[in-house]
């Protein structure tokens, strides 16, 4: 499914946070959104997934989602957003319960998603019994279980420690190699953008405008350390000054 963001502008209580965003994302593409704090990247993700109404502009889609997709636009949240009273399996099943599936179909889908995310042995565990990385795996399994056309990831690894982040990046790449789909990935971590994305959209400081769109030509599967480091450096040069200014602003504000 292709997505086109057309002239999206957003204000919070009169404060302009996004200004005239125009962006086309192609089927099967992974696009990272980076930018200084407060540039509106999460706001843009909220608008794309229909959790926020833009003040102006619209998001249009072209092409039908895969037939078995139950929730074409599906989020993975920064804080995992798991129901603490439900087991891993029941958290994943939550996304299916209001759809007309047989108990068996539901069970099969849940088991498949758990296997894909390496949670097979943790189906009966409660979120509090899991590490941060495992909790986010549940978040990812819950997103995959509905077979989304577009996966919207809102800083999915930023609540995790550095090692867990590395592990989950590897896991995301191996899942994505198997599961087709379009992905929009918001992050403030340039390393994640350089490793996971096909294109990186750099937003300017508030109000967020598209500053540059950087295409990474090497496919993610064969992307070596040198390419990633070079890309990371290039992205940092693009946002460095503004990130410094944004940081001072946050501290004073």
């Amino acid at each position: 499914m292709d997505i086109r963001i057309e002239g999206v502008t957003h204000r919070y209580d009169g404060l302009l946070v996004l200004d005239g965003i125009e962006l086309a994302i192609g089927e099967g593409e992974t696009v990272a959104l980076v930018g200084p704090s407060g540039c509106g990247k999460s706001t843009l993700l909220g608008i794309v997934g229909g959790l926020l109404k833009p003040s102006a502009g619209r998001v249009v889609t072209a092409g039908a989602p895969r037939q078995d997709s139950l929730n074409p636009f599906t989020y993975v949240f920064q804080d995992f957003a798991l129901l603490p009273w439900r087991t891993v399996q029941a958290n994943v099943a939550l996304a299916l319960e209001h759809h007309p599936l047989s108990a068996r179909q539901r069970q099969e889908r849940v088991e498949e998603a758990l296997a894909l995310t390496g949670l097979g042995d943790f189906a009966q565990a409660l979120p509090k019994q899991l590490s941060g990385g495992m909790r986010q795996r549940v978040g990812i399994a819950r997103a995959l279980v509905v077979r989304p056309a577009v996966l919207l990831l809102d800083e999915p690894l930023s609540a995790l420690d550095a090692q867990t982040r590395e592990i989950l990046m590897e896991d995301l790449l191996s899942i994505w190699a198997r599961e087709r789909g379009t992905r929009l990935y918001v992050t403030h971590n340039l390393d994640e953008a350089a490793r996971l994305a096909d294109r990186v959209v750099v937003l300017s400081r508030r109000p967020g405008r598209i500053r540059e769109i950087v295409a990474i030509d090497t496919p993610v599967a064969t992307r070596g350390a040198a390419v990633i480091a070079g890309m990371r450096e290039r992205l940092w040069r693009l946002i460095r000054e503004e990130a410094r200014e944004a940081e001072r602003e946050v501290q004073h504000g």
Binding site: F77, A81, L83, P84, L94, E97, H98, K128
Partner: protein
């Protein structure tokens, strides 16, 4: 010169001391017994523990204990259940729907601080001196704290969980039953503790105003007759009842909130 680093403390961490409460209880009983038997306290002010135990025995034998206890428990049970059901319905609606919140919050805030026993005379005018006015007083007293607890508990449910449910397209009633209500459960159960003690206070007060049977009526009657041994036995019943309810609620919390 090698010296060990002195231990400076573990942050006043609370450690369980299971025998201490029993020891304190036993020591107080002993003190009470000694003070009574030596005549330091007159039997008219405070009867000895043995005479209270004897009074208990007498009440059980005559069947008065069961009668009073049953009457009070029935009133509390009925009043608490009615107040809780209505309170949960209104409180959850206020927590979920902006319209209900805007419309009812000022009303609830205005009525909440009224000591509910002050309404008993009015309820007696409305419902008569019988059971209905007592049950209504308890229900009314339980209702408002339940509304506030349920409404505040809904507010405590992380918005992000609700947004998550919306992002997966869950219908509103699924969001209420699968996200809001379970998420509000800790706050609702904490409210039950408060309303249980309110119900106990109100049943005693209401029974003191006009009832033949019930622990409150019993305590008032024994006071008038200077039967302090029976009076203290009545107070001990209330304490036991309170402890029992507390224990029951703890057990419920433990099983319902296992996920915490």
């Amino acid at each position: 010169m090698a010296e060990g680093v002195p231990f400076r403390g573990g942050g006043y961490e609370a450690r369980p001391r299971r025998w201490v409460p029993w020891l304190v209880f036993a020591a107080l009983l002993l003190l009470w017994h000694v003070a009574s038997s030596r005549g330091w306290i007159s039997a008219n002010s405070l009867p000895s523990p043995t005479s209270v135990v004897l009074a208990f025995g007498e009440m059980i034998e005559r069947g008065t204990l069961q009668k009073h206890l049953w009457e009070s428990a029935r009133r509390i049970g009925l009043g608490w259940a009615l107040g809780t059901l209505a309170g949960l319905a209104i409180g959850l609606s206020m927590g979920i729907f902006s319209l209900a919140r805007a419309g009812l919050l000022p009303l609830v805030s205005a009525l909440f601080p009224i000591p509910k026993i002050a309404l008993l005379p009015l309820f007696i005018l409305w419902f008569g001196i019988g059971e209905a006015s007592k049950v209504a007083t308890i229900a009314f007293g339980v209702f408002f704290p339940t509304v506030i607890a349920a409404y505040a508990a809904c507010d405590q449910v992380p918005r992000n969980l609700i947004r998550m449910a919306q992002s997966f397209g869950l219908p509103a009633r699924h969001i209420v039953w699968k996200v809001v209500v379970p998420g509000a459960m800790p706050g609702i159960l904490a409210g039950f503790r408060i309303t249980a003690s309110i119900a106990l206070i109100l049943v005693v007060a209401a029974e003191m105003i006009g009832a033949e049977y019930g622990v409150g009526a019993f305590i008032l009657a024994t006071g008038n007759l200077m039967q302090t041994d029976h009076l203290v036995a009545g107070v001990a019943i209330l304490s036991t009842f309170g402890l029992l309810v507390n224990w029951l609620l703890s057990a419920i919390e433990k099983s319902v909130l296992r996920w915490r």
